[in-house]
């Protein structure tokens, strides 16, 4: 195995023992980036200089005999919607193409304090709106398992980077599945923690009541380690939970005897690729073999999750994205010589030119849903159904420790395949969206392949039940080998022949 193929906990052990320096690890990852980035296109911005400086600092500390944190010296990529002081943060949007934040997101502060080595900022669907990363204003990212396929989205950059060895782990954000779906499509572990577990301060908001930051890792232990690092109360985020944070690695016992697992039948209905269904069913059988008690159950409001989400998320987005107006920062439309814009023209041109089609679509949907005369029928109704969905989950968690489903109804699809059909694209998140509406945690763990493309098993737990989810995922992973598979970057020649999609870096 190459250095870039190793997990964070493996590398950390080498670094702590002095068998590898943080600088060597960083060099390995950057040479991997050099090697494959042209095909994968995961990064919007690379921060090589900063990475080496951070790595050398960790090495100095080690030489000085200081105790290193569990992730010190490990290269990490950050989705480009988390603010990084002095490093541009674009949300893969023209409107923030040159925006350089004067402050760090809380998670970035935590990473820096823990000796993380930041490789760069990762591509995404513009403002995290999408399920394929094709909505990036700069270029689409490709799936390392098949470069003709999408990596999923919106955190396609983080998922592809970790899968391809261009980062050892990454941070993404998940509003309706944006961590779990790309993790599933790229064959890695991705977790959306409980709403409020990880501070959102510095995460550029898409839908504030749904957004949550979480890890992309190569295995479940790494996921627990990263969660240890980023979880915890933040006084800068009023929605951040005051709960004490356990050591998540303490749940990695491998023993799931007697754990009660519910399988909601609504998550295996129409639209699910039968090969994915079979793969996931096999994984569930494996859990039963390991001693878990598996039962079918019902989630009656599941079918309303998607419509509810497409009211609430755009409504919040329409307000959150109002600030991109060209007045104080970001892109501003400039009139032709001799012309002048009044304030309204400046607003309209700036936002028309600065936002992509999907973002505009959602701003319009959300503005409509909040408009007087429609508010009660759409937004208020959606809030009520959201409560019913929460109640559904709460009822199920009275009987089950975790719920399982496929993460995504299909494996990775081809670039362009769904790009022209937003509704079909939205269905890609049908199993992940209810989790965000209820604010509960969920994780996707690799559970097999369909035609050489990874499939993910979706594990959902009660609020602040990250521990039990990690426990089940870890037991499953320890008894399977999917997490050790590395992507072949197939289709490379074809991509080369068709030429680079576009620039923007």
């Amino acid at each position: 195995m190459e250095i870039y193929d190793l997990t964070a906990h493996e590398l950390a052990e080498y670094i702590q023992k002095g068998e590898l320096s943080a600088e060597e690890v960083t060099r390995a990852v950057f040479s991997r980036i050099q090697e494959v980035e042209e095909d994968v296109q995961a990064y919007v911005t690379l921060t090589e200089e900063k990475a080496y400086a951070q790595a050398r600092h960790v090495d100095e500390q080690r030489r000085a005999g200081k105790k290193l944190g569990p992730l010190a010296g490990i290269p990490v990529g950050i989705k480009d919607n988390m603010c990084t002081k002095g490093i541009r943060t674009t949300c893969s949007s023209r409107i923030l193409e040159n925006f350089v934040p004067p402050y760090n997101a809380t998670v970035v502060e935590k990473l820096e304090a823990a000796g993380a080595v930041m490789t760069g900022k990762l591509n995404m669907d513009e403002f995290a709106m999408g399920s394929s990363t094709e909505n990036s204003a700069f270029f689409p990212t490709r799936n390392p398992w098949d470069l003709n396929c999408v990596p999923g989205g919106s955190s396609g950059g983080p998922a592809a980077a970790v899968a391809a060895g261009e980062a050892v782990y990454a941070l993404g954000s998940d509003t309706g599945g944006s961590i779990r779906q790309p993790a599933s499509l790229c064959g890695i572990v991705g977790m959306k923690p409980t709403y409020g577990l990880v501070s959102r301060y510095g995460l550029v908001a898409f839908a504030s009541s749904l957004d949550q930051i979480g890890p992309f890792t190569k295995d479940v232990r790494d996921c627990a380690l990263v969660l240890n690092l980023i979880a915890g109360h933040d006084p800068m985020d009023s929605t951040s939970a005051p709960n004490p944070v356990p050591d998540y690695t303490s749940f990695l016992t491998g023993d799931i005897k007697g754990v009660k697992i519910g399988v909601p039948r609504e998550f295996f209905g129409e639209g699910l690729d039968p090969r994915v269904a079979e793969t996931v069913r096999n994984a569930i059988d494996k859990l039963a073999d390991l001693g878990a008690i598996v039962e079918e159950c019902s989630f009656p409001y599941a079918e309303y999750a998607l419509p509810v989400y497409y009211i609430i998320a755009p409504a919040e987005a329409s307000s959150n994205l109002a600030r991109y107006d060209g007045v104080c920062y970001g892109y501003r439309a400039v009139p032709e010589k001799g012309e002048k814009y009044d304030i309204i023209e400046m607003y309209m041109k700036t936002r028309s030119e600065g936002f992509g089609a999907e973002v505009k679509r959602r701003i319009m949907l959300g503005t409509y849903a909040l408009s007087s005369g429609y508010y009660d029928a759409y937004y208020l109704k959606a809030l009520k159904v959201r409560t019913l969905i929460k109640d559904d989950f709460a009822r199920l968690f009275e009987n089950y420790d975790v719920l399982v489903s496929p993460t995504s109804p299909t494996p990775a699809f081809r670039l362009g395949e769904k790009a022209g059909d937003p509704l079909t694209m939205y269905l890609s998140d049908i199993y992940t969206i209810p989790v965000n509406l209820a604010g509960i945690p969920a994780l996707s763990v690799p559970c097999g392949f369909v035609d050489g493309l990874p499939v993910g098993l979706h594990l959902m737990g009660p609020a602040f039940g990250e521990g039990i989810i990690l426990k089940v995922a870890y037991a499953y992973e320890q008894n399977t080998s999917y997490h050790r598979a590395r992507p072949p970057l197939q289709g490379r020649e074809k991509v080369k022949a068709s030429g680079k999609t576009s620039g923007g870096r």
Binding site: N81, C83, L96, A205, S238, A322, V327, C328, S371
Partner: protein, 476 residues
């Protein structure tokens, strides 16, 4: 116009003088260079989140209680969405359907009668920045966000106000109460209190609700009164001419002395209010409300009642003295240490306020201390200075902060009570004015006053007036 009555409701915004802004830790200060009192949060940069300043909540509850409101056990913040370049997020954090305070009132006195004006709601929100238009003839505008995020209370009255005079009295009482509880300095001229008015007119004695107009751009209490007077006149004229008043927003034009149209109701924005998902609901315990209620200071109405009973003042004087907490405190500090509280009241409502206004001062900036005023009154009692001289001494004390005794000594203002010296002067005056003396003897009382005046003139006002009276009477 006599056949119509006005229906007026006021919407008042006051800036709270908390130490920091409403949702970030920037100092709540004025007068800094543009865009220097800002941070990522009040600039609305991508990714930032608001966190409520606990002091804002504390101040708002205090204000709600002082205005006799119910304090909501459960309340929340909403986003008011509209685009304006001085609003960095293009939404304002405000409160919509669940305001913190509701159903209050305050009492006003106009022409000797007390009227109770209902307060519909009091809610918290953040202020916007400021636009500076066309400075030095520029064809662009500049944005200053120093004020963005400053905490505001919006106080909405019921449409209980009937006259422009009542509107002014309402604002004065509101200012008085809010200053008493130390949440805002309420200076309309400086923008820390802003007022919009909703007004309609109807045939007197009916309860018809006619279309109302909203009046903006009034920069003083006086302007509110004048604008409402002008608007009543305008609306009455429209109805009298058989027309219909349009529901619209109008601006007060101070120079023209009239209101002018700003925008019609059709152009009104849809603010698309919805609960702010970045802020958690506000839950207030009954214990917290009782604690804040206990800690409220004595409010102006109660204090005025006490002044009339405790110090024997007239209701009018008590009202004047208690309108400002600083003035009432000053008065009371003197009254407690002097034998005649009414005499203190005369000095404070008279000379003291005259000089405060003439010098354009805030009471807290006055150099004269209550102890010094009491000392001066005691000098009069002792006969060291006359009441007339005291006015000169008082003004000097007021301007310099010196003690009365010091001033009297410096300027040689000690009263002449030496009978021998005064007799000599009286003799001179009588000799010099035989005609006037004759007039007096023929029953002209005024002639006597003239003679007293001549003695005072000769002594530069230092003669003991009682002694002069006696000596003159004895002599003529």
């Amino acid at each position: 116009m006599d056949n119509y009555e006005a229906v007026i409701g006021l919407e008042v915004h006051v800036e709270l003088h908390t130490k920091t802004k409403a949702f970030c830790s920037c100092p709540n200060e004025f007068g800094k260079e543009p865009n220097t009192n800002v941070c990522p949060i009040c600039l609305g940069l991508p990714g930032v989140l608001p966190v409520i300043n606990e002091a804002l909540l504390e101040y708002a509850i205090r204000a709600g209680l002082a205005l006799n409101c119910e304090i909501a056990a459960f309340s929340k913040f909403d986003r008011k969405n509209y685009y304006y370049p001085d609003l960095p997020k293009n939404y304002q954090i405000s409160q919509y359907d669940l305001p913190l305070c509701r159903n209050g009132y305050l009492d006003i006195e106009v022409n000797g009668a007390t009227r109770r004006i209902g307060i519909t709601r009091v809610h918290m929100e953040e202020d916007a920045g400021k636009l500076v238009h066309g400075e030095g003839g520029a064809d662009y505008s500049l944005v200053d966000l120093n004020r963005a995020g400053v905490p505001l209370l919006e106080i909405v009255s019921e449409p209980d106000i009937r006259t422009p005079e009542e509107a002014k009295a309402y604002l004065e009482k509101l200012k008085s109460i809010l200053s008493y509880i130390d949440v805002s300095d309420c200076k309309m001229e400086e923008g820390s209190l802003r007022c919009d008015a909703n007004i309609s007119v109807r045939p007197a004695g009916t309860d018809i609700l006619n279309p109302k107009t909203e009046i903006k751009n009034m920069n003083s209490f006086r302007a509110v009164q004048r604008a409402l007077e002008a608007e009543i006149k305008r609306q009455c004229a429209v109805w009298a001419a058989g027309g219909t008043v349009e529901s619209e927003t109008r601006a007060w034009d101070e120079n023209k002395g009239t209101t002018v149209p700003m925008r019609s109701k059709e152009e009104a924005s849809d603010y698309r209010y919805f609960p702010d998902p970045d802020l958690v609901p506000i839950v207030i315990s009954p214990d917290r409300v009782s604690r804040i209620r206990r800690e409220l200071p004595e409010l102006p109405d109660a204090r005025a009642r006490r002044f009339t009973s405790e110090y024997g003042l007239s209701a009018y004087d008590a009202g004047v003295l208690t309108a400002s907490r600083a003035l009432a405190d000053f008065y009371e500090a003197c009254a407690r240490n002097y034998r005649d509280p009414k005499l203190v009241s005369n000095w404070v409502t008279g000379e003291f306020l005259r000089l405060v206004n003439a010098r354009n001062l805030e009471i807290r900036d006055v150099k004269l201390t209550p102890a010094h005023l009491v000392e001066m009154l005691e000098l009069i009692d002792k006969g060291t200075i006359s009441g007339k001289i005291a006015k000169t001494v008082f003004e000097e004390m007021f301007d310099t902060g010196k003690r009365a005794e010091e001033i009297v000594k410096e300027k040689g203002l000690v009263q002449i009570s030496d009978e021998g010296e005064l007799s000599r002067i009286v003799e001179e005056v009588v000799t010099a004015n035989p005609g006037v003396v004759a007039d007096y003897r023929n029953g002209k009382e005024k002639a006597f006053a003239f003679l007293v005046g001549q003695v005072m003139k000769a002594t530069k006002g230092k003669a003991n007036p009682q002694l002069v009276n006696r000596l003159l009477k004895e002599r003529i």
